[in-house]
Symmetry: C2
Subunit: 904 residues, 2 copies
């Protein structure tokens, strides 16, 4: 069952609430209504309070108003349902009897807290009001009850401030905490003291009046003296805060649906502000930073809960060296807390984050929840708990998210370091990089090769910048989105990258970069954080999460559960080695065009394209062929025994055309043709919509020599490698297939060249031929296409562009708004558009299998490293995904999650 819960939380962010007419659920003294399985109804906090109560732990009694009431509140135009106050009344009297206190009593007033309890924790986002039940009269009763008038006024003051704050924020959306703070500070100046604790009870009583005046001034209504009105107002405030801008923003960022609503928890107050044997704190059953199995926590003496969270005072550790620890000060409470933590961890089978209060030496638990943790801790805890016999391997695998893996593989900014962020762009490729600003790619390449640390800063990058990107520390662009050229290449080669920094202006003429008001020059050092998008002046220290033995262990478990194979996109032996290190099971995409962008090679490509005759073309191609053969030989050798999918030349012709006058001149000279004639050809080959023009196998049809040469290089390399005693499994992918006849045409060339090479060398190599499904038409004719294909490789990026009619360039200009406004459920260039593109892929799979039952099916490109898209690939029945080497572990884990989810 815990596995199911964990999965539910991971994948659906909240289950459907139980339908019931009951609104209020009691907990206290071992009796509970509802249980921890009902977090959808009771909220996470409410459910866990009930559970702890059942376990006999010291929880102040109270009752939970169910999440369904929040929905009633919304539906009723922000009014509580009529019957609610009656139900609350019944539960109040139950509490009163239980504690022998009276709500609203002037002598022994029962004080209550009202907290929010959403099904998914939203820490610090929603309203909390403590000390409800106090008024000008009962405050004196409280003073008498505890024999501490200062405490009573401190408590009353907190009630008024929290109430006021909540009301004012609800009224005008503003943050008014400072009004009360300012008044407090003014009072301290008047009486000439420094610390809050130096104010005596009279000072505080005067502040009560001042606070009450602030409320009248700001809201036009007095602070209610009637405790029942306070209570209902506080419940309303909690429900209202569910739709506060803060809460809406938080939910959007964390993919939590708004429809669930929050519970409101009404609980008897316990006081951490009752002197030196009182206090409040948080404890973790294990270290949330490292995952080490050591009891960990912080506390403050003589405060109420808010003070710990707000960070006004620096808390102290609960254990460790020194005397100020909880262990040192109140050892009995410490021991009790330690035991409870262990109990709870065993009960919940996960690391717990516990809020506690000590009231005059007596321990109370106010909350327990699954503790948030760093990526490192997540892996460590999951693996340790398996070894401790606490959880099984499946659950361990589920507990670590793909995002955790992502974080673990890159260095991170040291959070202890001091730095200020100049601007923020889109976090396009994770990791931190520091280097000097260089604007010119050639200069960047040259400096980089000399061992300098360089950040390439550009408006946007083009394929000719790739060579320089390999030798720079990171890339920063002012334009482009998460799938811009810079982003794609950087992720592919594992370089930190920040793109689309709209506040930045790159001025090539002046050789400056303007960020906001700041002008940076060539050679200035900057740091970029590709995980957050931050751009920072100067160098910042980083920390590297060690890729531990525990991670390897976890990934092995993940591999036991997944069905989907994971390959890597790689062009170089270096990429291939990285891919293997990260567990790739082959290469799913080798983009041969990346092999053509070196200066020498691109010059030959240009000659080839602009040559007048087949012979002219073959001359240039002959030279390219030798280089390619060597490329492929290295790649096959480093992936020995594993499949290597090679995509024949794919990009739009335009990417190989000379741009500048010099480049045209160079080609003209090489070809011995007139400049004007070559320029004329370039102009004619220029296309309005390169993406919708002469690219992919259309290039191959126009210049069959290109494909013939490439295929020959592939097979010659394969033969060499096979002769050396290694296994080689080439899979040749025909790009941008549109019609069945195209694939049949390409296949005929491939088979013919293969036969020729094998006959000549007397060595035969098994190979596959397949189609890249990037054009919607290919998916639509998958049945006939499959008769000529050994495999399909879905190019989801291209397929998304064409199926949605959006170029990835254009995407940045309006897709974010679309996602925000709900016109699209998610960014389709990051996570597959399941309803549209996904449907097309499923159609192609169905038809493809009808054409050839055993056709091999894969997905290549950036989506292959996105957990959501990996899960889709599993469900749709693909055989493998292929992604950047650095994302292979992410894909492996996501594939395991998908398989486990299916089993459940």
């Amino acid at each position: 069952m815990p596995l199911a819960i964990a999965l539910t939380l991971l994948w659906t962010h909240g289950t459907a609430p139980r339908v019931t007419s009951k609104r209020v659920y009691f907990f206290g003294s071992g009796q509970v209504e509802g249980n921890a399985q009902e977090s959808a109804l009771l909220g996470g906090k409410g459910a866990n309070l009930a559970e702890m109560t059942k376990l006999g732990l010291p929880v102040p009694p109270g009752f939970t108003i169910a999440t369904s009431v929040c929905r009633e509140f919304e539906a009723g135009g922000e009014r509580l349902p009529d019957k609610l106050s009656h139900e609350i009344e019944l539960y109040l009297s139950r509490l009163e009897k239980f504690l022998s206190l009276e709500f609203g009593s002037t002598e022994r007033p029962l004080l209550l807290s009202v907290r929010s309890g959403p099904p998914i924790s939203m820490p610090g986002v929603m309203d909390t009001i403590l000390n409800i039940g106090l008024n000008d009269i009962s405050v004196e009763g409280l003073a008498e009850q505890f024999g501490d008038r200062r405490f009573a006024y401190d408590t009353y003051l907190r009630l008024i401030a929290m109430y006021g704050e909540s009301l004012i924020r609800g009224n005008n959306g503003g943050d008014s905490w400072s009004l009360f703070d300012d008044a407090l500070a003014a009072r301290k100046r008047e009486v000439n003291v420094e610390r809050d604790s130096d104010l005596n009870d009279e000072h505080l009583a005067e502040l009560v009046q001042i606070y009450k005046e602030i409320i009248i001034t700001e809201t036009g209504r007095p602070f209610p003296q009637d405790p029942r009105e306070q209570l209902l107002q506080a419940v309303s405030a909690v429900f209202r805060s569910w739709n506060s801008p803060r809460a809406v923003a938080y939910r959007r960022l964390n993919n939590i649906t708004a429809s669930v609503g929050t519970a409101a928890i009404v609980q008897v107050m316990v006081f951490g502000n009752l002197g030196d044997t009182s206090g409040t704190g948080v404890a973790f059953s294990r270290d949330p930073n490292t995952g080490e199995s050591s009891f960990f926590g912080e506390y403050l003496i003589n405060v109420q809960g808010q003070d710990v969270v707000s960070g006004i005072r620096t808390p102290m550790p609960i254990n460790g060296p020194g005397e100020d620890t909880l262990k040192g000060r109140i050892p009995a409470v410490y021991a009790q807390l330690h035991t409870i933590c262990q109990t709870l961890e065993r009960h919940y089978q996960d690391m717990q984050d516990i809020e506690f209060t000590v009231q005059r030496g007596e321990l109370f638990l106010l909350q327990t929840r699954t503790g948030k943790r760093t990526a490192e801790a997540a892996v460590c805890i999951a693996v340790d708990m398996v070894h401790e016999g606490l959880i099984d391997k499946r659950l361990a695998v589920v507990r670590v998210t793909p995002e955790h893996i992502d974080q673990l593989l890159y260095p991170m900014l040291d959070l202890q370091a001091h730095y200020s962020v100049l601007a923020r762009g889109l976090p396009a490729s994770p990791g931190v990089a520091t280097g000097v600003i260089v604007l010119d790619p050639a200069e960047a390449e040259s400096l980089g090769k000399q061992g300098n640390k360089v950040i390439l800063v550009r408006s946007e990058t083009s394929p000719e910048d790739v060579a320089s990107m390999y030798v720079t520390e990171g890339v920063l662009t002012s334009r482009g989105g998460m799938t811009s050229h810079a982003a794609l290449v950087a992720r592919g080669i594992g370089r930190p990258c920040v793109v689309g920094c709209a506040d930045m202006v790159v001025d090539r003429k002046a050789d400056t970069v303007r960020i906001g008001d700041q002008i940076l020059h060539l050679g200035d050092t900057i740091t970029i954080d590709g995980s957050t998008g931050d751009i920072i002046l100067g160098e910042v220290a980083t920390v590297q999460a060690p890729v531990t033995r525990k991670l390897d262990e976890l990934m092995q478990w993940a591999d036991e559960y997944r069905r989907l194979r994971v390959r890597a996109n790689a062009e170089t032996p270096a990429d291939a080695t990285t891919a293997l290190k990260f567990g790739a099971e082959g290469i799913g995409l080798c983009r041969t065009e990346h092999m053509f962008f070196g200066p020498e090679r691109i010059a030959l490509m240009r000659q080839m394209i602009l040559a007048d005759t087949d012979i002219g073309r073959r001359g240039a191609l002959g030279l390219l062929a030798e280089m390619q053969r060597e490329d492929f030989r290295e790649l096959f050798a480093s992936m020995a025994g594993l499949p290597v999918t090679i995509r024949l030349l794919d990009p739009p012709l335009k990417e190989f055309l000379p741009n500048s006058h010099e480049e045209v001149l160079q080609v003209a000279e090489a070809l011995g043709q007139k400049l004007e004639i070559v320029q004329g050809k370039v102009d004619r080959l220029w296309e309005h919509h390169p993406m919708l023009g002469l690219s992919g196998c259309r290039l191959g049809v126009k210049y069959p020599e290109i494909y013939e040469t490439q295929v020959q290089a592939i097979f010659e390399a394969a033969v060499i490698v096979k002769r050396s005693g290694l296994q080689v499994h080439p899979e040749i992918m025909v790009p941008l297939v549109m019609t069945t006849a195209e694939l049949a045409w390409a296949r005929a060339i491939i088979d013919r060249v293969a036969t020729k090479v094998f006959q000549r060398s007397q060595v035969a190599v098994g190979y596959l031929v397949g189609a890249a499904i990037e054009v919607p038409r290919a998916a639509l004719v998958a049945d006939t296409l499959a008769r000529h294909a050994d495999f399909f490789s879905f190019g989801v990026h291209e397929l998304t562009q064409l199926t949605l009619g959006i170029s990835s360039d254009a995407a940045a200009s309006f897709l974010p708004t679309y996602v925000e406004d709900g016109l699209l459920s998610r960014e389709p260039f990051q996570m597959i558009d399941e309803a549209g593109v996904g449907r097309l892929i499923r159609l192609a799979i169905k038809h493809g299998r009808s054409g050839r039952l055993d056709i091999k099916l894969g997905m290549c490109g950036e989506h292959g490293g996105d957990p959501f898209s990996v899960a889709f690939s599993h469900r749709a029945g693909l055989d493998y995904v292929s992604c950047s080497p650095f994302r292979v572990p992410v894909a492996r884990l996501a594939a395991a999650h998908a398989a486990l989810q299916e089993q459940d």
Copy 2:
């Protein structure tokens, strides 16, 4: 049955041949093997010869070697099947007995012709060899037999020349007729005569030797003296000519599949070259030019068949005034021929084209076939034959093709006029236009408005040229394909247009147009023929086929059969009036962006787009709204009672952005903003792939004011028109829908604005809201989309671009090769790609109907006027197509054909 044949010929261009092992089929003297229904087996000519023989008409006997033998010949590496010569031998002896002649005899030689007989007529394309059976000895026997030595040598000479020509062409593909012609001319010079007929028998006998030497020289082999070798060689030559470059080209142009093969017809010779009571000619049962019901034909005295066809001598009419007519010279033969023509027309129920030979006063029929006819004649004959009770209305409708209709609606070059073609481009919009060359659109507009006849000549056109296109005679561009901007607009407004003339260079600097070597200047007069793509210097006379009463009658019959409705694409009342005249049943596409391209309006659009605030935008939009309301009012009024589909603003933002510095300055001044700021905005809005960017309803989402304004203008106009007592049926189309949420969003705006307008005016108008299905994703989510749509309108042009991943700009650069090489079966921007785009549309229809059973389905854009795409629309179950006004009759007829084909 004739209907079925006609349809078969129209739609499939040849039926599957019967499987049989019989190779040779006899006809003669009332006995036949096989019949006219077996044209797939016997070829058209062979089947009709058999049929005429059965009817007891005077057909020289012979036998047909079936088309299957042609396929055997091909499969066997251009060798006749072994058993064939044996079978031929059997039939030869049958002929010999029948005629008391002997093949190869030196005294009474049986002479034979061998003609090709493909299932579909390919006139003049394939080989024919006459007079087979003659050699150096039997030529004297023939002389004796007919008592005419000159005739015998003339006949022999023709055999050698035809045999030699066929062999030489088969050997080296060259055209060698001139070798024999040159020899003949040389001989005439030597003996000092002018005409062939002045050469006597001795001259001809000498020429026989010369011709034979030519054959040895050219082929290395002598002319065979063995008649049987002659016969088999001739049969081989006919089969070989099936795959001659000429024949392959002809079939490609006429969509005839190569697999059918040709029959070879071996027939006893009759001689038209036996003196003044002999001759040969062609006759038509009705006038093939006008369709008039008058006997029509031409003949030559004392010639063999070739001379009539080759046009060396000018033939004489068979009837009419003057004495040289057949009627005047050999009245009995004329009368017999006339009767036979009427018999054959009645038998075949169609106008017949008959070849005849008169041998010494005796009439022989060599061929009958359905006569080719002009568009005018096609309509006239079809309608007349119905009135004559010869055929029914269904058959009449089928007999007229959509291409006929197309021709009838445009003026054509007078074929009698003398002119020479400078160059040829793509025939983008039919009709002929003459005018002076103008390169600048503004100048063209101004000159055109002053009443000058102008041809706008451009590299390519852009939306801002549209205003000038309205006032020019025609448009000529050097770039772009059949679906380029120029082509689309020209077809839409019915202007002749030739595009993609690669031989033409437009030099704006020099104000010249270079076509080949010729430099043309501004003001030079040219003529363009948008039906052929011809570009001609100077003015050429044109003829206008009258759109007759008969056409109206035929179209009414067509309307009785069709199920598919036909609407027109129209923006102006003038367009609407044309559309109604041509029988449109509403407007299926009013592209509102066309209403924004006037100079005043585009300035306002630019202000709107570049304004900083909603208010700024609404200011410019307010002015535009008034103009739009008036536009819509006029459109609704002229289409009263019929549906009018209005597409909300659709084109890429880029089309509205200012281009030049002056335009940016103008906008900046109007907005009171700094130039740099406006320029910066323009730069930011610029897109790499405008077609895949911010256009269609994405613009609406970004600037909701645009749609609100347009919708308000639509409903206000509708209210005005309804108040005036007219019926109005607006259907609002949301362009480029990608997600269901987009359509729901747009529908909410439309419904809200409608309610507001109706409440204010106290008049309500029924309206529909639908989605343009242009993005593949929309088709894929048609089920959910349909829940928010009253109709779908398939924008096949856009859908083709995205489904195939080809921009229509790029199409010209490689699609023609694709179609030629069979990588695509047809040009998808002209005829719908049924396998790909068609499948997507069928999917959307199925899913759409599952979402909303009664959803209305239409197709809009250029494909709506293409007969193939109309037929698809019918079969797929669409409710209507919408096309240019000028193509409405074409679509109506094509829809009727589709319906009739379905019934069969």
